[in-house]
């Protein structure tokens, strides 16, 4: 009675398990502005869903979760649409280029090794930096509250301020050349295409540290960008590969939309630095899991094509 058969995955699953997974990932999405693909796809594969179907159906459910999350953050005034559109344009261009890069890497051989090592290094660097920075920030919060201290402008900041077409991004409260989000969006697009993920967990740190956007606006804007990326991926996967399982996506999104709303509300109760520490911890856990997977002898020397 609690089972449901998935027509494309051709596998029967337990309803509470799938809805629970959706809720968990939706919670992360609402809290941190990440799509959660880097977490959801491996979990779905673990319960027997074919890897290609898991990844494509996850994109479909992220459409609902990010629509729900974007709406919630929009109501709170946390979406910078202007910035989101620039990042999206850069992401689409970068993603298209990334697909070509991965083709070349595969022809050269050992592409999977490069991808996985890049993944581990990126996650390690981003997670560690975010964790340490947020921890220091929390510790010195009291000092900052007493009065702003004059900060020395970094070389990066000087470079950014020298770029042409300086524009004000009202919602984020920053002045920046649109070239910056276009280039950074493109960079994330390339990485996302190579790694086969939505890129939210890379985009969020980039928005925080390189675009200097406030954390709460980062979450809403990231979700806005993820929404459009995943809409495109869902249609393309359904059309080209027939790997989108709508029943699976529907069950996941029932859980994830509720989770996203709960996450958005929780995020308001937490400080930006606390949010960053939580996200950094999750990123580091995923990194360690991947590293262990690379080092330990696998139980099976064969894995289904399309998987890890």
């Amino acid at each position: 009675m609690l089972h449901i058969y998935l027509p494309i995955a051709q596998h029967s699953v337990l309803l509470p398990v799938i809805i629970g997974l959706g809720f968990l990932v939706g919670l992360l999405s609402g809290l941190f502005g990440v799509g959660g693909g880097f977490l959801m796809t491996p979990l779905l594969i673990m319960i027997g869903i074919p890897p290609t179907v898991a990844a494509a159906s996850d994109s479909n459910q992220i459409v609902a979760a990010s629509a729900s999350g974007t709406y919630a953050h929009y109501r709170l005034g946390n979406v910078d649409f202007k910035m989101g559109i620039y990042l999206l344009i850069g992401g689409v261009i970068g993603g298209t280029g990334g697909v070509q890069i991965i083709k070349i890497l595969r022809q050269l051989g050992n592409a999977d090794f490069l991808i996985q090592i890049t993944y581990v290094v990126m996650l390690g660097v981003v997670g560690s930096y975010m964790f340490i920075e947020s921890l220091q920030s929390l510790r010195t919060a009291k000092q900052r509250e007493t009065g702003p201290t004059a900060q020395k402008q970094s070389a990066y900041a000087r470079l950014i301020s020298m770029l042409p077409l300086q524009t004000r991004f009202e919602r984020s409260g920053i002045v920046l050349s649109p070239i910056v989000p276009l280039v950074l969006g493109g960079f994330v697009g390339v990485l996302a295409a190579i790694m086969g993920v939505g890129g939210g967990f890379i985009m969020v740190p980039i928005m925080v540290y390189l675009l200097r956007m406030p954390m709460h606006v980062v979450v809403g804007t990231s979700l806005f960008q993820i929404l459009f990326t995943c809409m495109n991926v869902t249609v393309m996967q359904a059309y080209s590969n027939r790997t989108v399982d709508f029943v699976l996506a529907l069950l996941l999104l029932v859980g994830s939309t509720i989770g996203a709303q709960v996450g958005a509300k929780l995020s308001r109760r937490l400080k930006g630095d606390q949010l960053k520490i939580f996200l950094a911890t999750i990123v580091l856990i995923v990194m360690v899991k991947m590293l262990v997977g690379l080092l330990l002898h696998p139980h099976f020397l064969l894995s289904y094509y399309g998987g890890d």
């Binding site: 009675m1 089972h3 449901i4 058969y5 027509p7 494309i8 051709q10 596998h11 029967s12 699953v13 027997g48 479909n60 459910q61 459409v63 609902a64 979760a65 990010s66 629509a67 729900s68 974007t70 709406y71 919630a72 109501r75 050992n110 999977d112 090794f113 996985q116 090592i117 809409m231 869902t234 249609v235 393309m236 996967q237 359904a238 059309y239 027939r242 989108v244 709508f246 029943v247 996506a249 529907l250 999104l253 029932v254 939309t257 996203a260 709303q261 509300k265 997977g293 690379l294 080092l295 330990l296 002898h297 696998p298 099976f300 020397l301 064969l302 894995s303 289904y304 094509y305 890890d308």
Partner: protein, 254 residues
């Protein structure tokens, strides 16, 4: 001398009649599958089927449940320095999606199964591994290990039960559980009847597994109208996401 010849001929005729009747009984052994087909609906969670019939009193029966062939493409993991990673691709052709051999519990069958042409190990003769320059033995062993872990391949001892019916025949019955990951298609249920450890009869029965209802409709839409299906998936996801957003927004306002 004449009597001796008559006696010998008599015994020969008796033996001939007995052997012929045993073979006849074996060839005509009844076999039934209940239910006679399987429907995969929305709430399908796997299902038992019963395999039963009769065979000669001294006979034994083995039953193979063989799924439809399904593309089996895999990554092969290998070691590069300290790391384990995908080192290549392999494709196993003609590999059945499911293979389960049901055995009677009257003796240990393991050693003689390959000579009878049944069993998981025998599949090595059927499956083709591409590309050909790979280590076939290792690939086949890993493939079987993976399939066994998914409960899609296996051999079950003492899975067939006998009940004596009369002096000439006995009834047999076995239950097979189609797992929750069953795919639709035409399954083959092959029976091998043995008498004194020799094959007396082989037969193949076809068993249809079909998707029904909503599951069938969604599958057909996804495979026949791909673009419409993809757009519908996005539109419904957007609708559900927005409705949930509105619902939570209002409840927050109150």
């Amino acid at each position: 001398m004449l009597n001796q010849k008559i006696k010998t001929t008599g015994w020969f005729l008796i033996l001939l009649i007995l052997t012929a009747s045993a073979a006849h009984a074996a060839q005509n052994s009844e076999f039934k599958i209940k239910p006679n087909q399987l429907g995969i609906g929305t709430f399908f969670a796997g299902q038992d089927i019963t395999l039963c019939g009769t065979l000669p009193t001294g006979g034994e029966i083995m039953i193979e449940v063989i799924g439809p062939p399904k593309d089996a493409k895999f990554n092969i993991k290998g070691r590069v320095g300290p790391f384990w990673m995908n080192r290549g691709k392999v494709e196993l052709e003609k590999a059945p999606f499911l293979y389960v051999l049901l055995l009677p519990g009257t003796q240990k069958w393991g050693a003689q199964l390959p000579s009878l042409g049944v069993g998981v190990e025998h599949l090595e003769q059927i499956i083709t591994i591409r590309p050909e320059n790979l280590d076939h033995k290792m690939i086949f062993e890993q493939f079987i290990k993976l399939k066994r872990s998914e409960h899609l391949y296996g051999q079950k001892e003492a899975a067939i039960h006998y009940v004596t019916e009369n002096q000439k025949t006995k009834k047999f019955e076995a239950t097979f559980h189609f797992p929750s990951s069953t795919i639709p298609g035409e399954y083959r249920i092959a029976t091998t009847v043995l008498q004194d450890n020799r094959i007396m009869n082989r037969a193949v029965h076809h068993f249809q597994v079909e998707e029904v209802g909503v599951i069938k409709s969604i599958h057909e839409l996804a495979y026949n109208k791909e673009l419409i299906y993809g757009i519908l998936c996005v539109v419904i996801a957007l609708f559900v996401g927005s409705v949930m957003g509105l619902f939570f927004g209002r409840s927050e306002a109150h």
